[in-house]
């Protein structure tokens, strides 16, 4: 009997839940009881972080710096001088690229000082949009062929014709600076991590936190360190977009078989040659996926970056939403997706392009495409110069279509939202009331009525059953950190919303994913839909959702589910598609029906991968729940969002961000331990 219990995890889990329920109902609600709530021993952490930041930026390690404005020496902290120099450098790069697309003279004049200020000629005109599109066409054609050429040029044609050229170029210039920086940083740290186990073990937790921490919690520290402006937006983007690159670099390098390394050594490579001529080219595929992730993440950050001063689509999106202009916001969102698609495809094509080894080509033959581009730009520039006399009101449509002067489908989209509202509101309202009264509030009260002892018993018990004493302690430690703060009740509310959102998203994802994975075409379609929703700025859902469901928890849940279903679906599809077809055939030969095959062959085999998707679902759901504070919530997110506009908000926001990240990490630990074991059992590597 006892032996049986030791082996059977379901039995252990039911026993765990029995004890949990027992504790839940036995422990009385009493603010002074340690069994009910732990004392806030760690409540000084935010103040400590603020103290640290303040001193770092203003008091410690100061050197006298001459200030020409005051005409005297001023003590400035070295850390601040360094971070500000980084800011200035980033800003210079961003503006430099921006001036190609939009024109200007800032970078020129900053290099020459005041000497050129008076000269009108020092103004760098923008490349006309027609030329940029021709350039994209040529680039796409050269890299891959006609289809890519059409995608790239038509995408940007849309952007221009819809009057979003200026903000799009502002965003693009930010991405063109941040993406390469993320790439190089990622490659650098990835290689270091590959070379030294020590570096990898220190990197791992930092990467975990950087990827799971809600963006809003590190915006204020960034303002303190780097100031506000495009450079601050760039820093936030780099923090968010670099980790996947590091991870994939390490992963790719690890996967290389020793034979390849040996053959490199036998050919007489020294260490650098081995790294750059052998290892990195071999790991190219994973590194490429990293580049693709970097681009996606950079664009996913456009709206967030706008909170700390990045110009471009994200900022316009915020303004449009403030005026409840959903149609306009959606148009801007589509532009973000278009840039993502074009950059993604171009970078993939560029990376996949084989190097050609023809020698003795003339300069023209080698750079044919570039010469054509210069020639066309010249012609289009001349056309744009003269067309200025043709168009009225100082708007030259062949040079740059100004913001708000293009075509628009916004009224159509708005009408669509109105129609949905008019048609479904009555039913939605009934549904909303039912959901809030009988599900959400019941669940919230149940979570809030949970004594801390039973919570810990459940979490640590689950850790113990899944991963032994190690998982038990890790998970318990992560949650203990939150329990010892003043914000435990809020964390419980966050947990309730996350549980609900993740549950529904997982069901959504698994059902939709399983249906779509049945055939080739629907798989492709669903994966591109996933891509779309992953880059489409999630802010845009917030307003229509409020219109439909009011300022209630339902709205937050709907937004979170819409966003978190994406990874659940994607991983389900990928997991099911990776089941070898020989197994399908074997099943069919044994005479199973479609449903049986799904239940007993495909699903169990795909389950480890699907669980990894669940892991992502938790992260996505928590991100959106924190963002849901913009609708109105009473959880950790409300304070994180509020910390943006609160004196001393840096410490509080950062601490609570760490809390959210710890929730993710605890879930991650459980799921990862389980999948690793499961994969071993199933013999999947």
């Amino acid at each position: 009997m006892l032996n049986n219990f030791k082996k059977s995890k379901p039995q252990q889990f039911s026993f765990l839940i029995l004890i949990f329920l027992f504790l839940y109902f036995v422990v009385p609600e009493d603010e002074n009881s340690l069994l009910w709530r732990l004392p806030p021993l760690l409540k000084d952490i935010p103040a400590f972080i603020n103290y640290l930041l303040d001193n770092l930026m203003f008091n410690w390690l100061t050197i006298p710096v001459y200030d020409p404005d005051w005409g005297m020496y001023e003590d400035q902290a070295i850390v601040r001088l360094i971070t500000r120099s980084i800011s200035d450098f980033l800003l210079f790069l961003i503006i430099f690229i921006r001036e190609f697309f939009l024109g200007g003279m800032q970078t020129i004049s900053s290099l020459t000082g005041d000497s050129l200020k008076g000269l009108k000629l020092a103004y760098l005109p923008a490349i006309p949009w027609t030329a940029v599109i021709m350039g994209l066409f040529i680039l796409g054609y050269k890299l891959q062929g006609l289809s890519l050429a059409l995608i790239a040029s038509l995408g940007f044609f849309y952007v221009s014709v819809f009057g979003q050229w200026e903000p799009t170029m502002e965003t693009l210039s930010l991405v063109l600076v941040t993406a390469p920086i993320c790439f190089f940083l990622g490659l650098f740290f990835g290689i270091l991590g590959y070379l030294s186990k020590k570096v990898e073990t220190t990197l791992q937790p930092i990467l975990n936190v950087a990827q799971t921490m809600p963006h809003f919690s590190y915006l204020v520290p960034i303002i303190v360190f780097f100031g506000v402006g495009d450079h601050a937006g760039a820093v936030a983007t780099i923090i968010f977009a670099t980790p996947p690159m590091i991870r994939l670099t390490i992963l790719g390098l690890r996967k290389i078989s020793p034979e390849i390394v040996e053959s490199g050594l036998m050919s007489g490579c020294n260490r650098f040659q081995l790294l750059f001529r052998v290892l990195i080219p071999t790991a190219r595929r994973d590194i490429l996926i990293g580049v693709n992730q970097v681009i996606m993440q950079c664009l996913a950050m456009t709206t967030i970056a706008a909170f700390i001063g990045a110009k471009g689509l994200g900022f316009n999106l915020k303004v449009a939403l403030n005026g409840l202009k959903i149609g306009k916001a959606a148009e801007i969102g589509i532009c973000v997706v278009i840039i993502a698609v074009v950059l993604d495809k171009l970078s993939l094509a560029w990376a996949n392009k084989q190097k050609d080894y023809f020698a003795n080509l003339s300069f023209f033959q080698r750079n044919k495409a570039f010469v054509y581009f210069l020639f066309l730009t010249l012609i289009l520039g001349i056309i744009a110069y003269f067309s200025a006399f043709y168009f009225e009101e100082g708007i030259n449509f062949l040079y740059l279509i100004p913001f708000g002067k293009g075509l628009t489908i916004a009224p159509l989209l708005d009408a669509g939202v109105d129609w949905i509202w008019e048609t479904f509101f009555y039913y939605l309202n009934i549904f909303n009331k039912f959901l809030i009264t009988y599900v959400l509030f019941v669940m919230r009260d149940a979570y809030l009525g949970m004594p801390v002892i039973s919570t810990f018993f459940l979490i640590m018990g689950a850790g113990y059953i899944i991963g032994g004493i190690r998982s038990c302690i890790i998970v318990g430690g992560l949650i203990l950190f939150i329990a010892l703060s003043e914000y435990w009740d809020r964390a419980l509310i966050t947990a309730y919303m996350a549980t609900f959102a993740v549950g529904i998203s997982a069901i959504n994802g698994i059902v939709v994913g399983s249906l779509c994975a049945r055939n080739e075409i629907s798989t492709k379609i669903i994966l591109s839909i996933c891509d779309f929703f992953q880059t489409f700025p999630s802010f845009i859902y917030l307003i229509p959702v409020i219109l439909l469901f009011g300022i209630t928890d339902t709205s937050v849940m709907i937004a979170a589910i819409a966003y978190a279903s994406v990874p659940a679906t994607r991983y389900t599809v990928e997991g099911l598609r990776s089941v070898p077809s020989s197994l399908h055939d074997a099943g069919s030969m044994s005479g199973v029906s479609n449903l049986q095959r799904w239940i007993s062959i495909e699903f169990p085999l795909a389950l480890p991968h699907i669980m990894l998707g669940l892991n992502q679902t938790v992260i996505f759901a928590l991100m959106m729940i924190v963002l849901g504070a913009l609708i109105g919530t009473e959880d950790l997110g409300q304070i994180i969002m509020g910390s943006l506009s609160r004196p001393g908000g840096a410490g509080i926001g950062f601490t609570l961000g760490i809390f959210v990240s710890f929730i993710c990490l605890a879930v991650d630990n459980l799921i990862r331990t389980w999948t690793d074991e499961r994969k071993k059992l199933l013999g999947i590597n």
Partner: protein, 313 residues
């Protein structure tokens, strides 16, 4: 040794980078996410450029920008509302680096209120007098799915006034009929206005004037008059905490070096003082007439050329 190394490295990096972009030193003006503020930023930028300066518009966040003004990342913060922004404004002043560059020529008002159509349809007879809220039949018209049968006040984000509105309900003795919900952002308030109208459900929301809602018709509720110290957190009692909101100022903040680095721009900035109808016009040019912000600013300047020239000299 280590310390000197750091110092040398720091000095080098400073020399290398900061000299590049500091030369132009444009006047950095924050833009937030509502129309009048953005148009006013554009008006200032265009005037500064007329005066021979360069100006740069920097997207920013309403309260965190005071820290940025304090340390000189931004030069100005030109719309500072007393009730929502006084706290970070004075905190930055306490730390040193931010100066008060005077107020606009208007009195701001912020209060709970209802859109006019709520009164016209008689959802709560007796409004705008607050006593009307005592009627249970009135409160029932303002209930929502999550308000537990009570009428709902939709207050702005919690950090704007923290416990003031819940305390006010208690002070007025109507907390058994009404409850407060905190919206997450100003966007959420406007979405609620639109949704409530489409649904025909009453709504009491936090709002302010001058604002774009002035045009559509919005009535503030008359609460017992405010006096210094009436609120619980300012030392008031439960009897007095039902008082309404104070009338407030709309200030302009500047970085302490701004007068030194851009003297005539600063002079213009201190003289610049808009009235409520002027700010209303700025919002109107964008929200109703569909201009983009820069064009609206140009239009505004051309309509108020005399005034602007007066401030410039």
């Amino acid at each position: 040794m280590f310390k000197t190394l750091i110092k040398v490295a720091a000095v080098f990096s400073v020399l290398l980078f900061s000299s590049i972009s500091k030369a132009a030193d444009p006047i950095r003006i924050p833009v937030l996410n509502w129309s009048s503020q953005i148009v006013m930023a554009n008006v200032m930028a265009q005037v500064f450029e007329e005066m021979g300066y360069t100006a740069e518009l920097v997207p920013a966040e309403s309260a965190s920008r005071y820290e940025a003004v304090r340390i000189g990342d931004l030069h100005v913060a030109h719309e500072t509302w007393e009730s929502t922004m006084a706290l970070p404004f004075y905190e930055a002043m306490d730390k040193g680096g931010l100066i008060d560059a005077g107020s606009h020529n208007l009195i701001t008002f912020e209060e709970m209120g209802v859109p006019n159509w709520v009164i016209e349809e008689g959802l709560c007879p007796g409004l705008p007098n607050w006593e009307a809220l005592k009627d249970p039949a009135c409160a029932a018209n303002f209930a929502t799915a999550d308000s537990d049968g009570k009428g709902r006040w939709l207050e702005g984000p919690y950090e704007w006034h923290t416990e003031v509105m819940p305390n006010r309900l208690k002070g007025l003795g109507i907390d058994d009929l009404w409850t407060v919900k905190f919206a997450g952002s100003a966007d959420a308030l406007w979405a609620e206005l639109k949704a409530a109208k489409a649904e025909g459900r009453g709504t009491v929301i936090f709002n302010w004037s001058p604002n774009f809602t002035d045009a559509a018709g919005f009535t503030f509720i008359d609460f017992p008059p405010y006096f210094e110290g009436c609120r619980l957190e300012n030392g008031g009692t439960l009897e007095t905490t039902g008082c309404g909101s104070p009338k407030g100022w709309l200030k302009k903040a500047a970085h302490i070096k701004f007068p030194l680095t851009h003297p005539s721009a600063y002079k213009f900035y201190t003289k610049m003082s808009f009235t409520a109808p002027q700010i209303g016009l700025m919002a109107d040019l964008v929200d109703s007439q569909g201009m983009d912000h820069a064009a609206a600013a140009t239009e505004f300047i051309s309509q108020h050329r005399d005034l602007i020239d007066l401030w410039k000299n």
